[in-house]
């Protein structure tokens, strides 16, 4: 035995044998690969993970409670801060649920703009995922290329809404305002460049043998388990289930767009990677169709008791001024009822449950965040893998802690 052991007094008994004991370590909440403040309690046998238990709640800010104290239109800015990589998707799910309660339809141009902006946001969200996923696995360069492209989308969102990360662009009954002049041309310019950029990402990552070795066969989840665990979005489609809410329960006119649902059957990290890469191309297709459908017209529903009037109308029409005052001071009177509205966000099924008991404030708002449910599948996926693979699996689930903790 070494000298250090010999120096221990005889009354101290050494029971812990380092080679055949299990070790519990805490990964996070400040670990860079946990994409936020996620803490994992890992039980390790050597370098093998025996059990991984996620510990969440570090970013809990009581948003669902806050909704109950805010008017419906004030809730939109809270949704921005949930899944902060896909804020327009959150806006859409929330305002569509409120619109369902109010039973109002928004005009064609408003719907097309919603689809276009949501698909741009989906691409931006997937670009952050791609950059950070590759960064987690040691490929630093990809991050710079993906953020270069994402910056272009952020500029587009800023041009439309004035905000980059927290746009709050969709409002109950329509949009905040119409697109600025020349927006179509800027989107078209982005579209022309993006196809080439996507090929570039494939060249950087897809053919990379280190990336393939780190992802293939890791974090396997079968189709039955994926449904049982409630996985949705790309994480479910990577296991061979062709389910997309845009097709299954269409909203905002998605049934009229021509796009494919990418499916992979391997169920591992690599399969989920391929699904997301192909999804970006499909979103690219949808944006192009939406741009070609943009025709002049109103972007807000004709519902003066719900939608804020235009500035110009307020200066010339008495009733517009009264409606504006009542909407801001008292809010929208939403009839009693309850709705659950699901949309296909960039990470999976984002469902919003709103319960109204009448009046300007909701009685309950619940967000079914895809990241929350997808993360709950992590213990199942990570059993028996290596510590380094945990990072790959978390990356492939594409979680955002703002949405998990709410």
């Amino acid at each position: 035995m070494s000298t250090s052991v010999a120096n221990i007094p005889p009354q101290v008994e050494i029971v812990d044998q380092p080679l055949d004991s299990q070790m519990t370590i805490s990964m996070g909440p400040q670990h860079p690969s946990t994409h936020g403040v996620l803490r994992l309690e890992l039980v390790l046998d050597g370098e093998m993970v025996v059990k991984a238990t996620p510990d969440i709640g570090y970013l809990h800010t009581g948003m669902e409670k806050l909704f109950e104290y805010r008017k419906y239109q004030q809730g939109i800015v809270i949704t921005d801060r949930m899944d902060y990589l896909n804020p327009l998707g959150n806006n859409l799910a929330y305002v569509m649920a409120v619109e369902k309660l109010l039973q109002i339809e928004i005009p064609e141009r408003g719907q097309v703009i919603r689809v276009m902006m949501c698909e741009l946001q989906r691409i931006a969200s997937h670009l952050v995922w791609l950059g950070t996923h590759a960064l987690d696995l040691g490929a630093m360069t990809v991050f710079f290329y993906t953020f270069r492209e994402r910056e272009k989308i952020m500029n587009l969102i800023e041009a439309a809404s004035g905000g980059r990360l927290t746009p709050s662009y969709f409002r109950v009954g329509g949009l905040m305002m119409d697109l600025p002049a020349g927006f179509e041309r800027r989107v078209q310019q982005f579209e022309d460049d993006f196809s080439k950029a996507l090929d570039e990402f494939h060249k950087l990552v897809t053919g990379n043998r280190i990336f393939q070795k780190r992802t293939q066969g890791i974090g396997y989840v079968s189709a039955e388990d994926a449904i049982d665990l409630g996985l949705s979005g790309p994480s479910l489609r990577g296991s061979g289930i062709a389910l997309d809410i845009r097709r299954a329960n269409p909203y905002t006119g998605y049934e009229t767009y021509d796009f494919d649902i990418p499916v992979e059957h391997d169920g591992d990290v690599w399969a989920r990677y391929l699904v997301r890469m192909r999804e970006m191309r499909e979103s690219h297709k949808i944006v192009q169709q939406a741009v070609s459908r943009l025709k002049p017209g109103p972007v807000k529903a004709d519902a003066p008791k719900v939608v804020l009037p235009d500035r110009e109308a307020m200066k010339t029409h008495m009733d517009a001024l009264i409606h504006h005052f009542l909407l801001v001071a008292e809010g929208v009177d939403v009839p009693p009822g309850e709705v659950y509205h699901p949309i296909e966000a960039s990470k999976g099924e984002l469902g919003v449950y709103i319960k109204s008991t009448g009046g300007p404030k909701p009685a309950r708002v619940h967000f079914r965040g895809p990241s929350f449910v997808n993360l709950s599948a992590l213990p199942h996926m990570s059993r028996g893998c290596m510590v380094a693979d945990i990072v790959a699996i978390i990356g492939s689930l594409d979680i955002v802690l703002g949405e998990i903790d709410r």
Binding site: L243, P262, Y353, R364
Partner: protein, 178 residues
């Protein structure tokens, strides 16, 4: 590099014709098992079935395994507090979805405040695990038979249930981690 040129095997999803709408399913359920259904409401295109809590596991199991319904996916489970003076006070909502037939259904269980117990559905859908923990954490609904019923979002030593209506927005006192 085959992905670059031609993505193989795109699977086109066919729209399976749903043989029954959710309201028809609810009516059929009432015919077959009258004691499972206390009330059916259809509003805003969504169907809600109020189920007595003793029957919720049987009803979920039946809806999941019956070939015509196939509610194999628990989309969401969430609680609601009607307020301290209401009786029954608490609601638990189960949002069911079918990945093959693409229809949705809401089941609802009503609970009294002093007896807020409901059987767990984690053995039917494993995804219910975290949803039930969240509902326990924020509403104090106890899911009997749950394998790991701990607080999930709030700290383990938190007092009270934050989403109940009588819990103040800013809490009772500033929470300290030390």
């Amino acid at each position: 590099m085959s992905e670059l040129q031609q993505p193989e095997s795109y699977t086109e999803v066919s729209q399976p014709a749903s043989p029954q709408t959710p309201s028809q399913i609810a009516a059929a359920l009432q015919r077959e098992h009258a004691d499972w259904v206390s009330e059916i409401t259809t509003a805003l295109g969504e169907t809600t079935i109020v189920v007595p809590r003793e029957q919720i596991v049987a009803a979920c199991e039946f809806l999941k395994t019956t070939p015509d319904y196939e509610f194999n996916f628990l989309a969401d489970l969430c609680g609601f507090d009607r307020g301290p003076e209401e009786e029954p006070r608490l609601e638990v909502n189960y949002h069911l979805f079918s990945t093959t037939r693409h229809h949705r259904l809401r089941l609802k269980v009503l609970l009294n405040e002093e007896d807020a117990h409901v059987p767990t559905v984690t053995m039917i859908w494993r995804t219910a695990n975290w949803h039930e923990r969240e509902t326990f954490d924020l509403f104090g609904v106890i899911f009997d038979g749950h394998p790991d019923l701990r607080r999930i979002l709030l700290p383990d030593d938190w007092q009270g249930h934050a989403l109940r209506k009588d819990f103040p927005l800013r809490g009772y006192e500033p929470y300290s981690l030390t």
